[in-house]
Each structure stands twice: as structure tokens, then as C-alpha cells.
Symmetry: C2
DNA sequence: AGCCACTCGGGTACGATGTTCGCAACGGAC
DNA sequence: GTCCGTTGCGAACATCGTACCCGAGTGGCT
């Protein structure tokens, strides 16, 4: 108990003997459900059903639903890959785009990542790649770490904002049109109140940027900034 | 049903007639529980118990637990305030610090914000303040919006990272010492594997910055960047 | 003052969840 | 062939969010 590693990823996983599901299968199935129907749909019973096994069997391979979530998060990062070219700006941008893609592909990630340190194998591999990218900018590892943390913080934050409306829509169960139809009048009222002049200008006069454009703009700002501070 | 506003904050709230709790009380109690014991501890039964009322009574004032969360989020932003001085850099930094403080004070926020558009009264008020701050940098409202989104994305992202370890600790139920004692050997193994040279350098050679220092560094990067792009 | 319609508070109950217990059935080792 | 550890899993439990329903109390009208 005391010498048992408390960290999820360090545990040795038993390999199934009979027709077993195996941890991998379980994690993959859970991810598929989460992607298609959202995290709340990932119940132990549901995963077991989709796997064609009994609910209690899952606990032979996974200690709890929470641990399953940790494994899902790390598994999802397995798909990311970045070639380090030595051009720090291009490399960091590549890392940033990869992270964004992963977060968009698995919308449930954004809500679960805060509160879970990224210590899984794949998370570490990605962090390593990010540090290697930043190493092209500065040899000071402390500075490089600061740069990586800053860039990744920005990426995570923007995608969270980007996902907010999408997720709310999904959660409300409305179609895009219904959702907009219900938000519209509310925004109209807010504007009509006259209490939010800047917000009003943003909505009325402002040009609407695509999510990609917003992302690129902010990313370039951040990269400009770190270049200035680490040169 | 159809002409009923679908947005939580636009609803008219009934005012209690007898000794009622009232929405405010409910939300405040829920926030207190979440701050002290984490979001999962905020069950309808628990809130009702702390309020000294019956569980079902809460539903007279709040449609669902989910709606209660929306209200909690907006309520928590009521405490924020920023004076707009016209010095865009100082003003934006002030907004950023306020947001960080709020997120740190209510650790459950970070996990709930992604997936919920910030359309509550207080959220709008804060967004308005942020835009006003950015207006000191550029008169172009589209650009100002981009700047605000970028800065806030960074803040949200860093705090999420900052909170990750703290939250994992809390969730594991271990003390800080026990937690570190369980992470230590794992990190040692990771380093010993030799597969993560940059990560190893970061841990071994790297100087450990305080959370505040990390935050300041990244924030300055971002502010430098937006200054360059909006000038 | 008296009455009625309406609202409020909340006990009870239902379905679903995460997790544990204990057992039956299987498979490799001897 | 026998045996023992291991596996899969049915059943049960505590707890959750929420709907239903009714007694009690109130405000407004006559």
C-alpha cells in the first residue's frame, strides 16, 4: 500500500488471459464515447456495454472512473507528433497547432485538463518536444521552460474560449439555429441597455474573425513576445 | 416554452414569500461548499442541508444543478473590479491579475469555464472593462477584441496549469508531503530512462520559478506581443 | 371578515451512477 | 487429474439529480 506507486501511469497493467478487454480497449472505447456524446455519457456501465463485457469486469483493469479519465487524457496525446527542425518559431507554432487540434477533436479534454498534472508517458513526450522546440530560441533551459509554459497556456486558454459556445450548444441539446435564436434577443437586450458600450461596438462594428484567425493572431502575439524576452 | 428565454441569466427570479432561502443564498452557499471541499461536494442535498431547507425546495429557485453552476460562475465574478486609467498596459495587467486571483480563489472554476459562454451580467461587466482597457492601446475595436481574447486566454491557461498539481493533490486526498513523496520516485524513473533530455535539464538544472514569477513572465511576453501587433 | 386560488416548502420515490463483494468458471502447473 | 490463482461478472449498496404530489400558509377579492 505504502510502496505502491500512487501515480496512475507508473502502475503495471495486468494483461488479460481470457478474451479480455485489456486496458487499451477500455480506454479507446471510453474515448470514442466521450468524443461522440460527451464525457457524461462515459459511465462504467456504458463502456462495459459497448465492450460487450460486464460492468464490474472493468475494475480488474482500471481502479476507478477517475483513473480511466487520466488514461484517456494521456492516450489522446499519443496522436501528436512534431518534427523539430531547429527553426524555433515554426517548431513552437507546430506544437501549438497540434495541441489545438487535439483539444478541438476531443472537446471533453478542456474541462478535464485543469486539475490533472500531465505526467503520463505521452504528455511527457509532448512536453519534451515543446522544450526541444524552445531550445532553438534559447539555451537557457529555465527561460525555455517559461516560453513553453507561456505558449501552451495561451493555446489551452484560447481553445477553451473557442469551445465554450460549442459546448453550451451541445449541452443544451439545441440545434445551432435554435441556440442562436435564443441568444440573439438576449444580446439585443444587453446592447439596448446601453451599459456596455465597448461590448456593443465589438458586436455591432467589429469584424468577426474566424476561430483560426483569432488563434493565429494571438499565437503570433505570444511568439513575438517570447522572442523579445528570450533574445 | 418557445418564448421562454433559454438563457439562464435572463430569467426572472421569483422572490421568496415565506422565510425563503432565495437564489442568492443558494448560490452563495454552493460557492462556499465548492471552495472548501471541491465541486463534487456541491450536491443538491448538501446545499439544502447547509441551508437548513429541504432538497426539493431548491428547485423552486433553480432549475437544475447545471443552472446553479452557471449562476455560481457569474456570482464569483461580482467581486472583480478594475479602474480604467487609460494606461492600457497597466489596465490590462490589472484585469489579468484580477482574473487570476478569482481563478485561484475558486479552484473549481477552471474546470467549469470551458464549455460555458460568459454571458452573465458580471461576466459581461468584466468583459466590458477588459475591452475598455484595450481601447487605450488601439481604437480599432476588432483589434482590441483580439488583444483582450489573447490576454485572457493566456491568463486562463496559466492558471489552469498552476492549479493542476494543487487539484490533483486535493483529489488524491494526500498531504503535500505524501504527494511529493509519491511523485518523486516516478520523476526519478523518468529522468533515469534517459528518453527525456530536455525535461531532465528542466528538472535538474533549471531554476524553479514561483507561480507569480511564471505568471508575470508570460503576461509580459503577451503584453509585449500585443503591443507590437496593435501599434 | 371571510373565502378562495395560488404559491411555497418539502417528504417521498425513481432511475442512474460509481464502486464493492463474493462466487462460479476457467486455465496452467505439476 | 487435481489444484489453486485468476478472471469475469451478477447482485447489492450508497449517493446522486430530479419529478411528483400534497399539506400549509398567504394575498387579494368580495
Amino acid at each position: 500500500m505504502a510502496d505502491e506507486p500512487a501515480l496512475v501511469w507508473a502502475k503495471e497493467r495486468r494483461s488479460p488471459r481470457r478474451q479480455a478487454p485489456g486496458v487499451e480497449q477500455i480506454v479507446r472505447t471510453a474515448i470514442a464515447i466521450a468524443d461522440a456524446e460527451g464525457l457524461p455519457a462515459v459511465s462504467m456501465r456504458r463502456v462495459a456495454t459497448d465492450l460487450g463485457s460486464g460492468t464490474a469486469s472493468l475494475y480488474r483493469y482500471v481502479a476507478s472512473r477517475d483513473e480511466l479519465l487520466d488514461l484517456m487524457i494521456d492516450e489522446v496525446k499519443a496522436a501528436e507528433h512534431t518534427e523539430i527542425t531547429g527553426d524555433w518559431r515554426a517548431d513552437l507554432a507546430s506544437v501549438a497547432h497540434q495541441v489545438r487540434l487535439t483539444l478541438l477533436r476531443h472537446p471533453w479534454l478542456s474541462g478535464e485538463l485543469p486539475g490533472r498534472p500531465a505526467l503520463g508517458t505521452n504528455s511527457l513526450r509532448r512536453h519534451e518536444a515543446a522544450l526541444a522546440a524552445a531550445a532553438g530560441l534559447t539555451a537557457d533551459i529555465t527561460l525555455a521552460a517559461g516560453v513553453v509554459d507561456t505558449v501552451l497556456a495561451y493555446v489551452f486558454g484560447t481553445v477553451a474560449q473557442e469551445l465554450a459556445e460549442l459546448q453550451a450548444q451541445r449541452r443544451s441539446g439545441l440545434t445551432k439555429e435554435q441556440w442562436q435564436a435564443s441568444v440573439g434577443p438576449y444580446i439585443r437586450d444587453v446592447i439596448a441597455s446601453g451599459q456596455y458600450p465597448q461590448f456593443t461596438r465589438r458586436v455591432v462594428e467589429g469584424e468577426e474573425w474566424s476561430a483560426e484567425r483569432v488563434f493565429e493572431f494571438g499565437l503570433n502575439c505570444v511568439l513575438d513576445g517570447v522572442a523579445a524576452r528570450a533574445g
